[in-house]
Symmetry: C2
Subunit: 342 residues, 2 copies
């Protein structure tokens, strides 16, 4: 045991190595600005003292944290997991650390998290979707924190974004639903309030219906939280309708998983009696039975590109471009012709 040693500081290292703190700092941050022999001596001291730089002090002095913050709506399910993992990996490659927090789809909570992340010295922020008070953007501007929107593509928006066209992607899916012969269409959507992705997807379905000459006012929509149970619940409700819809388009795979699960519970055959579709193509989509026909979103690609763009912005190498990621339809087992046509 001996005496209580407390954590060594830069100063301790400097003394141990017989150099100034400036030199130690340079050894750690720009090794090539220090001569080999000195560097070795310093590194040796760092090693033997078990020195870890104090992050807060570094941030304060350098006004740079090499930290990127991300606020995602939820960590509860896998919707954001893959994309975020890729984002983090790429960030790491670019020399940054990721700080994540989740807002639980609550704008107030999101605002708070943004402030927290900024206070913690985040150099840049990843935000999901465009819908957000202007005040927040002003705040970020004042603090000179670049921010990038992901999971949504909107060339019209003021802010740069990396994402896909939610409307078009869903529209493509809905077209294929319609061309399979479905006319009585229902949708389980995420809460559209303040969620441009959910809005876009709903819009996509409407658009496809219009194109197909269907009356969009016939579209039954249930809005609910993106949770398996909620999907199940909504599905049960829809199955009580008369006439029953022949297809249930879900706002994402999580809802769809809940739906097919509920169908089995109710003894309704998917896709023989009713078809179900998802969105995202997360792992779950393939695991449930029947496997989901869905829209594949290249989350990894999106995550990586977002990371590169955001670091470029942070480093002043980019003003913030808007990047479009393309999705594609994945045909599996949960979508078929409506029963009366087969």
């Amino acid at each position: 045991m001996g005496k209580t040693r407390s954590a060594p500081t830069l100063n301790d290292v400097a003394k141990a190595a017989g150099v100034s703190t400036a030199t130690v700092s340079r050894c750690l941050n720009s090794p090539d600005r220090v001569i080999e022999a000195t560097r070795q001596r310093v590194m040796q001291a760092v090693e033997s003292l078990g020195y870890t730089p104090n992050f807060a002090a570094r941030v304060m002095a350098a006004k740079r944290s090499f930290t990127i913050g991300a606020i995602i709506p939820t960590m509860d399910n896998a919707i954001f997991a893959r994309g975020l993992q890729a984002f983090q990996d790429q960030l790491h490659e670019n020399g940054y650390t990721l700080l994540v927090s989740s807002s639980a789809y609550d704008p107030e909570a999101e605002r708070e998290q943004i402030r927290t992340l900024v206070a913690r010295g985040a150099d840049g922020l990843l935000l999901i979707g465009h819908a957000r008070d202007a005040e927040i953007y002003e705040y970020l501007e004042r603090h000179q924190i670049p921010s990038l929107v992901a999971w949504s593509y909107d060339p019209e928006a003021q802010r740069p974004s990396v994402g896909f066209r939610n409307t078009d992607a869903m529209c493509e899916l809905a077209r294929s639903v319609i061309s399979a012969g479905h006319r009585r269409i229902a949708m389980i959507s995420g809460m559209t309030q303040g969620n441009d992705r959910a809005q876009g997807r709903l819009q996509g379905v409407r658009q496809a219906m219009e194109e197909g000459g269907l009356d969009t006012s016939d579209l039954k929509v249930i809005e609910t939280a993106y949770e398996i149970d909620k999907g199940a619940e909504a599905f049960a409700q829809l199955m009580d309708l008369t006439p029953r819809p022949t297809v249930v388009i879900c706002g994402n795979d999580v809802l769809a998983a809940g739906a097919v699960h509920e169908a089995r519970k109710l003894g309704i055959k998917v896709p023989e009696q009713v078809s179900v579709t998802g969105f995202d193509d997360i792992e779950l989509a393939e695991i449930v039975s029947p496997a989901l026909t869905t829209v594949h979103v290249p989350h990894r690609e999106m995550g990586r590109k977002a990371a590169c763009e955001l670091t470029a912005m942070v480093e002043g190498k980019s003003e913030g471009r808007t990047i479009c990621i393309s999705t594609r339809l994945v045909t599996r087992d949960s979508l078929a012709m409506p029963p009366f046509l087969s």
Copy 2:
């Protein structure tokens, strides 16, 4: 636009309110140490300037961050999601913020993350499982950072922990497998290397076999990463064995989900031809078909208790107790008698 304002500091607020920085600081941190009138004036200034305290500066000066770090092996699947969410919620209630990072089951990465979190001023750390270099604990001690182990319970260990008895829980499951009549048992385990939970679960199966008078050397074990694909892969391998095992005990629900999925693909009926069991009882367990017989782990309870214990440790109110969470068997559809007995 006007002039480029930069983020206001404590000093700016102090000037605006006509008080000293000390008073502003007190307003923010111990409001009752400042008289009502002054406080109002200060708060007004804070509001109108849109002031957000600089976290790094605060941490540096106060040597306290009200931040707890957690290093979990993976964010990829839902294994830790629920428990971590509960941990975070409780932490928030106790006035702390959570910083999460994932080590990808790599000890070297974990060590690095620990250092990062400590450097970032974490007041305490949540670690998963006991297996870890002594050197790491020494490091934490030197920095005086309390740490708590979760997801594993070990009264023998030096370190406090909040978790469940992996061995006993799995043993109970295995007993019920054996009493269903299974003799040709296989297991898809997580990587046991440096993972006391995986080790414990494997050990639990062995123990139940011994109790049941079976030869543990007959147990086929495939160790693999906790991923759906890997579970599927391992399952396929096991099905190639002659004689084929009648039950596949999986180290967790993710592996089991992969297994039942692969079974369907191979046209093998679960549980009619082969039984499968999981562990954790995450959402996935109920969604796959057949629904998994598994061990229910009260993740939320564990997360909450861990949060309370760890904050107590950080605040010097506890030396670090070891808390045991109890699990229970959940019987669903994936386990039945072996075929030749039915």
